[in-house]
């Protein structure tokens, strides 16, 4: 089991699949949350890698290279399947978000008291489960777009150009995703008992 790049780079998709297939699958699952889509993304990634193997100069590890391709494929998927819908979402506004505020545009319900040290919180399995549940329960489009930014730090420009939206549009969508994630964590009594 090695992450290191081979001395002489050659296309070895069988090796990629056996060494990195599960890793790529988990990575995709954590972003798109659907087995069928995640499996397709792994396949597309390996096929793309096969064609682009001459571009892999061994500057990074084999796995890093494959994950970079997977991220691009995930954005492609988002574009292919959801691009039109994003435009509709933006045009429609967000009644759910509006409902979080009263007529004076102040919080309709006060946020609960929770918080803590992220390093400590991340170690707790219960907390991790709640966080992941809430993230996975976001609407599909918002979940993927937030995951690409939050988990993968994919450049905003890359997402905007793939989806043909402005950065202001992207901030709007990310805000919708963030408030939903936060609201879910708040409702589930995140970090109960912590100040």
């Amino acid at each position: 089991m090695s992450d290191e790049f081979p001395v002489s780079v050659k296309a070895d998709p069988d090796h990629w699949l056996s060494e990195h297939g599960d890793h790529l699958f988990r990575h995709a699952m954590a972003r798109v949350g659907r087995r069928d889509v995640a499996e397709d993304l792994v396949q597309e990634t390996l096929l793309a890698a096969l064609k682009a193997v001459h571009e892999f100069a061994g500057r990074s590890t084999e796995r890093t290279w494959l994950v970079a391709i997977l991220k691009r494929k995930t954005i492609d998927w988002l574009r292919r399947v959801h691009r039109v819908q994003f435009c509709t979402d933006l045009a429609d506004g967000d009644p759910w978000l509006d409902a979080q505020f009263d007529w004076t545009r102040h919080w309709a319900q006060a946020p609960g008291r929770w918080g803590g040290d992220p390093a400590v919180l991340c170690e707790g399995t219960e907390f991790r489960r709640i966080f992941e549940d809430c993230r996975q329960n976001l609407p599909e489009r918002l979940r993927t777009i937030l995951s690409l930014r939050l988990l993968d730090d994919v450049p905003a420009e890359q997402i905007c150009s793939a989806l043909d939206i402005t950065s202001a549009n992207l901030w709007t969508l990310l805000h919708r995703a963030r408030v939903r994630l936060w609201n879910c964590l708040d409702k589930k009594g995140l970090a109960r008992g912590k100040p």
Partner: protein, 81 residues
């Protein structure tokens, strides 16, 4: 005085890109007197930091044997002359 709705938007925005001076001032003024938005800001930053940590970890799920076989066949199809 800025509304909480607008303040929340700026708080999310600040996690993405640096705010302008004007935005910083009006948000600073708002959270200075609004405990709820202060809390929302603190919790939003916490979520941001946790997300970045979790991004480096993965669920313990594996490719099914069927999917693995399907992908293997696709690769064979693609590599055959």
């Amino acid at each position: 005085m800025m509304s909480c709705k607008k303040a929340a938007e700026l708080i999310s925005l600040s996690l993405e890109t640096p705010l302008t001076l004007g935005q910083r001032i009006s948000l600073g003024f708002h959270v200075g007197i609004c405990g709820m938005c202060r809390r929302f800001r603190r919790q939003s930053r916490l979520i941001q930091e946790i997300g970045q940590r979790i991004g480096k970890e993965f669920p313990a799920e594996n490719l099914s044997n069927e999917a693995r076989e399907r992908i293997r066949r696709a690769i064979v199809d693609a590599t055959e002359p």
